[in-house]
């Protein structure tokens, strides 16, 4: 056996957990006393030990089994670093034995093999007990927090920020802080968006009308928090998860199981508006199918010359009146071909390039980045010094907690720094975009969208760009009417545009009978 070793480090969100830096220092000390050379380290920061779904742990497992592995020792602070579940810890230890790797814990004293086995079993049982009881206590604490009107944890929803209050209690020498939601500077935009949604307006249309650049994928989750936006704290909403997916198969529990503490913070919308949004989401969930997600790109825009709306049916057709229908893909592809042809023009491309520059946030100030870099360096220095101090103390626990706080602050600053650097890179890159690049990007988009199953990304684009599309059911003559300038408020469509309505319409349509397909096509074609 060689003297080459690797360390495995893990710290969780738990404030009393040992920080990564402190673990690293302890393991380097252990290595020097055992005459081992540390050649690599595997670190899982802020990962729970209750399962094995941790990136560095998974890599360690892979490397452990890899042929030609250049090390034969694994060092960890204690058994809880490997896993808080007894079964996982045992399996890992077995894997080590099979691979001829020696697993050494800093916190387990040397003893004869029989005593070691007993000690390790006791430690593992205690680890599991700790994990289970702390989860139970955590849940009870969260429930009590909600009852008292405090936030149960998690980030503030869009439109709010967290305001921290000292409760007056002291824990481990530190004041206990709890948070409440207070409206932030974009709260009024959130109110306008949610009110429009409660009124049945389509998401893409509202974003275009209000000039918001929120990610479309963030809107569903935001709307499910309607009761939070009505000023109430909701808890126990999400179903329990296991292995990356919900145990029950649905993301959210039934409404009857939600814990709701009323009037805990300032409301952005009324109860009635919140209920209208939730009712729409529930209906949408009840009727949502793959077909809804992939098809009917033009619902809400497509109408007859008389102004009657074409609606998507359950079989991939746009339908108007009885029996008149046309395959949705034929209309979608013809309209998209026309639209992309119209966009492929030097002047339009220049307009798009300008809009892309305007769509970017304010340019990032280089001094802000330099300031954050300095802050990271300062925090790293402070962490190093605090760890040194802990090493000289008999009871280093309070100082190590301070290290954990500093590490958490540093992680936040590093994250913000990364975000600003990405913004800066994006801004620099967009500066170079001209009409030629836009036309190339549009051609790529067109290629990707031709024959694609899911064209949802084009929905907001069409909602803003196009006023209406007239399709004559008798002749199939189609006229694509562009909006003249921007999006006017007067052009807002009513409930017939909302996905909820067209889903509901799908439900009331009679089922297709044998032979109906030919008749439908016959009339349309």
């Amino acid at each position: 056996m060689t003297n080459r070793a690797v360390c495995y480090l893990r710290s969780s969100k738990d404030r009393s957990d040992v920080s990564i830096d402190a673990q690293r220092r302890a393991l380097h000390e252990l290595a020097s006393t055992r005459n081992l050379a540390i050649v690599a380290e595997y670190a899982d920061a802020v990962e729970s030990g209750k399962d094995d779904d941790r990136p560095a742990f998974q890599r360690l497992l892979r490397d452990l089994k890899a042929p030609g592995r250049p090390w034969e020792h694994i060092l960890a602070l204690d058994t809880a670093r490997i896993a808080r579940r007894q079964m996982l810890a045992l399996i890992f230890e077995q894997e080590c034995e099979r691979a001829g790797v020696r697993l050494t814990f800093r916190a387990v004293p040397d003893a004869d093999p029989i005593t070691m086995t007993l000690l390790k079993s006791i430690l593992r049982a205690m680890d599991e007990w700790h994990s289970l009881t702390s989860r139970q206590k955590g849940l009870a604490g969260m429930a009590e927090n909600v009852r008292q009107g405090w936030r149960a944890g998690g980030r503030a929803p869009r439109g709010y920020r967290l305001e921290y209050h000292a409760t007056g209690a002291i824990r481990d020498g530190q004041p206990v802080m709890k948070s409440r939601l207070v409206p932030d500077e974009i709260a009024h935009q959130v109110t306008m968006y949610l009110r429009a949604r409660a009124g049945g307006e389509m998401r893409g249309q509202i974003l275009a009308r209000l000039g918001l650049d929120w990610q479309a994928s963030s809107l569903n989750g935001m709307e499910w928090q309607a009761l939070t936006y009505a000023g109430h704290t909701v808890w126990n909403m999400h179903a329990e998860r296991e292995g990356g997916s919900s145990k029950s198969g649905t993301k959210r529990r039934p409404r009857s199981e939600w814990m709701i503490q009323r009037e805990t913070h300032e409301a952005l919308i009324t109860d009635d508006e919140a209920e209208a949004i939730l009712a729409q989401l529930e209906r949408q969930r009840a009727t949502f199918t793959r077909q809804d997600a992939s098809g009917y790109l033009l619902t809400g825009l497509l109408q007859t010359p008389d102004g009657a709306a074409w609606a998507g049916d359950s079989g991939g057709f746009y339908r108007v009146a009885k029996g008149t229908r046309v395959a949705a893909y034929r209309v979608d592809e013809a309209v998209l071909a026309r639209m992309f042809d119209d966009l492929d023009d030097e002047l339009t491309a220049a307009k798009v390039a300008r809009a892309m520059r305007e769509a970017l946030a304010e340019p990032v100030d280089g001094r802000t980045i330099a300031g954050l870099e300095k802050r990271v360096a300062g925090l790293s220095h402070q962490i190093g010094r605090t760890v040194d101090l802990a090493g000289r103390m008999d009871d280093p626990a309070p100082v190590l907690r301070r290290v954990a706080e500093l590490e958490s602050e540093r992680a936040g600053v590093v994250e913000r720094l990364g975000e600003l650097r990405r913004q800066q890179a994006a801004a620099q890159e967009v500066e170079t975009i001209g009409p030629a690049e836009v036309r190339a990007a549009l051609r790529t988009l067109r290629q990707e969208m031709e024959g694609a199953e899911d064209r949802a990304a084009l929905r907001p684009v069409l909602a803003e760009l196009v006023e209406r599309i007239e399709l004559d059911p008798a002749t199939l003559d189609c006229r694509l009417h562009y909006r003249l300038t921007g999006v006017s408020l007067a052009s807002r469509r009513g409930a017939e545009m909302s996905p909820v309505s067209w889903s509901a319409r799908v439900m009331v349509l009679p089922k297709r009978r044998k032979g109906e397909s030919r008749r439908g096509i016959g009339i349309a074609a």
Partner: protein, 66 residues
């Protein structure tokens, strides 16, 4: 549209004796309101930029040649 349904529809339209009318689209006006399109193109560019592998905090302390 479901690919199978689409295939059925295309076969139906290719049947001998079947009169198939193409959908011809004419445009009225020009594309003006392009800010959503700009945001979509921007998001696609940024998504490509973000495809750089992330540092997951684990690093090898071995010299490069090992």
């Amino acid at each position: 549209m479901n690919p199978a349904l689409r295939e059925n529809d295309e076969q139906e339209r290719r049947r001998p004796g079947r009169r198939v009318r193409a959908i011809v689209v004419q445009s009225v006006g020009k594309p003006e309101a392009v800010s959503s399109l700009a945001r979509l193109l921007l998001a696609r560019r940024q998504a490509r930029l973000a495809e750089v592998p992330k540092d997951d905090e684990s690093r090898s302390l071995l010299p490069a040649e090992q």
